[in-house]
């Protein structure tokens, strides 16, 4: 149904472009192109520190992660749909009023996401690299091959998450079992063969040694994942009304030592009852980080002895900062507009919830550090991870207020976010590589983080709130 597909594409474009103007949004892929084009000139320098194969690995891992993010963002059942699209009558809900099946709409939705985000992210990245190839000395055929294999990485990530989310909506237990099975299989493989399973990642294998058979096998795997996700898709929302005993009051009382405890209690109940807390933890936190760990561990030879856990801690910190988007995606200012609550109070409440949820990355990175590097690195690594997470969330709150997952596509916002975060990341990586105890210096980041959140509250209070 080409009509539905083109309408979905238009709808996605208009949703983004109305937020910050067509021109500004259209500049987003141009910016990606520009960054990669210019970044390609740094390749000779980077190659001195990292073998070319490692860099290719990282690029493939990044696009796999991008696929995870794009897929995981929207499709954890109807509630995620509601959060992403609001209660408006969007095309994804057409089955309610038009003779279209929900499965067909879902299939179109997946295809739309593939094309839309391919043109938004993947193609500009590949095109930037290809355009720079005459100057960087990379053969054009290799640059074209990289575009192909990065696209496959992205598609694999996207389709795996769509499949898992379809499974999740149908049976949370089955989804969890599937994830555990994959994790255990990777662990057993590593144990028996002594080889990192990331080395078996099909798009990277294809990039290393292209063959038409391998290409067809990879494409077939993606097609199977896509078909399985559509077949397994089961629309939610038909169940009877859910009832709960009163918990909010008691929870708010328990948390009364925190500022804005009713808002924090409400956010925690939202996360728990919607199932999104578990879904986000799985799709946006644990799975990406486990995959990243496998990929990063390939760099072990190029890093100082404790370098891997430091890099992983910084990465976990950045991913942990996106917990701010979990708590802001639930509601806009709208439901609070009838109450004596300001946007700044809401930002403060969401930041408090965010800080409470930092227990998750703290436990995670602490466990990884204990298992992989020994107990002496646990404390510096946890401090490093949480400091960067709080700082990055502060940047996000300042730049995006209560809409971080939408405003990230504003070119100015994204560039500012990347610059502010990159400076902190590079400095902390450098000093922590020198001595792991210097990771404690990251505590100084809490000062700009505090200032940013204060500035965010004043900045977003001065504007008409979005979402009403």
């Amino acid at each position: 149904m080409p009509n539905l597909f083109s309408c979905l594409m238009k709808e996605e474009w208009r949703m983004h472009s109305t937020m910050f103007g067509s021109v500004s949004f259209a500049l987003f892929p141009v910016m990606i192109f520009g960054i990669v084009f210019m970044g390609s000139f740094l390749l000779p320098l980077l190659s001195a520190a990292f073998p070319a194969g490692d860099l290719a690995f990282l690029a493939h891992a990044t696009f796999l992660l991008l696929g995870f993010m794009v897929g995981g963002f929207g499709l954890l059942g109807n509630e995620m749909m509601n959060r992403r699209f609001g209660q408006a009558s969007l095309l994804v809900y057409s089955a309610r009023s038009l003779p279209l099946s929900e499965r067909s709409i879902f299939a179109h939705f997946v295809v739309k996401d593939i094309f839309y985000y391919f043109f938004l992210w993947v193609l500009p990245f590949g095109a930037g690299y290809i355009a720079a190839s005459p100057f960087s000395g990379v053969p054009l055929s290799r640059a074209l091959l990289l575009l192909l294999t990065l696209s496959l990485s992205f598609l694999l990530g996207l389709c795996v998450v769509f499949l898992l989310s379809s499974l999740y909506v149908r049976s949370k237990t089955a989804c969890l079992l599937a994830v555990v099975f994959l994790g255990v299989a990777a662990g057993i493989y590593t144990f028996w063969s002594g080889t990192n399973p990331a080395l078996l990642f099909p798009p990277y294998l294809l990039y290393s040694a292209f063959s038409w058979m391998a290409f067809l096998a990879t494409a077939l795997a993606i097609a199977v994942l896509f078909a399985a996700s559509v077949v397994l898709f089961s629309p939610e929302g038909r169940s009877s009304a859910r009832t709960y005993r009163r918990v909010l009051g008691r929870l708010a009382k328990m948390l009364s030592f925190l500022p804005d405890s009713p808002i924090v209690a409400k956010d925690l109940l939202d996360l728990a009852r919607s199932g999104i807390g578990i879904g986000q933890t799985l799709f946006s936190f644990l799975i990406p980080l486990v995959v990243i760990w496998f990929f990063l561990s390939l760099l072990r030879g190029s890093l100082p002895p404790h370098g891997l856990i430091i890099i992983f801690s910084l990465t976990t910190g950045i991913i942990a900062s996106t917990i701010y988007t979990w708590v802001t995606e639930f509601d806009s200012f709208g439901p609070y507009s009838c109450l004596p609550v300001s946007v700044s109070t809401l930002i403060a409440g969401k930041m408090t919830t965010f800080l409470v949820l930092q227990a998750l990355p703290a436990v995670f990175i602490g466990t990884v550090a204990t298992l992989s590097s020994g107990p002496e690195l646990v404390a510096p690594v946890i401090v490093l991870c949480l400091s960067i997470s709080v700082y990055a969330a502060g940047v996000m709150a300042y730049l995006c207020g209560l809409s971080p997952s939408v405003l990230v596509y504003d070119v100015r916002v994204l560039i500012t976010y990347l610059v502010l975060d990159s400076v902190a990341l590079v400095l902390l990586a450098a000093v922590s590589f020198a001595n792991s105890l210097y990771a404690f210096l990251s505590l100084f980041l809490l000062v700009p983080a505090y200032i940013l959140v204060r500035a965010a509250r004043a900045r977003w209070d001065a504007r008409d709130p979005a979402g009403i």
Partner: protein, 241 residues
């Protein structure tokens, strides 16, 4: 009588759309004031500006002596509001939502007061149901309860009867009339003209953001007209202006 709401040259422009165009009006204490207008006339924007949810681009407003553009939270502390489209948060039960409202508004004995509202609006059997699973009508009742649970002296309500069945509409109309009889003030936005004629003491008519008329309903009747006919002729004339 003292004015509880006063606007002077109030304007709100969204991009190239003028939602309110220099609106000046006054609502006296104890009035049941109806803001009437066709779809898109600026009624909802008016309520948003008066409750500090959006800032005017011109003119000013005073609500209970406060400027909502500068102290929106202060205004919302003192008034009750039923927004037109907003729903209560999805994953709280109806009872928990009223508890949440109570916690934010610092209302003592909130559980007791909530029970009273479940009785008045006859939805006690739904108090433990998640808000997302409530019917539209029940959500409307819940929004109604949250607007009045702190016993405000002024309430601004947008289409309060929409989604309610005729029996419940009767209960609500009776409550609103009683609320005003006790000396409180009600600012009601609606396009159900019969309801406005039945319960309002004064009305203002907005069309395309401009104020076409403001005055007591009795004045309309004094000219031998019914409010619906008066409204239609005025808006049609205004539409051609």
């Amino acid at each position: 009588m003292a004015a509880v709401i006063e606007t002077c040259g109030l304007s709100k422009v969204y991009g190239d759309v003028t939602a309110l165009d220099s609106v000046s009006l006054s609502v006296e204490k104890g009035a049941l004031f109806g803001l009437l207008g066709p779809n898109g006339s600026g009624k909802t924007t008016m309520i948003k500006v008066l409750t500090g949810q959006v800032r005017p681009t011109g003119g000013f407003a005073k609500v209970l002596g406060l400027d909502p553009a500068k102290d929106g939270v202060g205004v919302r502390e003192r008034v009750g509001i039923i927004p037109e489209q907003e729903s209560p948060p999805s994953f709280l039960s109806a009872m928990e939502y009223l508890e949440f409202v109570g916690a934010v508004r610092k209302i003592p004995d909130i559980a007791e007061k909530a029970e009273k509202w479940f009785d008045i609006l006859e939805f006690g059997d739904k108090k433990n149901v998640l808000c997302k699973d409530l019917s539209r009508g029940t959500r409307q009742k819940l929004m109604f309860a949250q607007a009045f649970i702190h016993e405000p002296v002024l309430a601004l309500i947008d289409e309060p009867l929409i989604n309610l069945d005729p029996l419940m509409q009767d209960v609500v109309k009776e409550f609103l009339s009683d609320y005003v009889r006790k000396g409180n003030t009600l600012f009601l936005s609606t396009h159900i003209l019969e309801v406005a004629e039945e319960i309002c003491s004064a009305v203002a008519i907005l069309h395309r953001g401009r104020l076409l008329h403001a005055g007591p309903v009795a004045d309309v009747r004094a000219h031998g007209e019914h409010l619906p006919g008066f409204f239609l002729s005025l808006v049609r004339k205004g539409g051609h202006a």
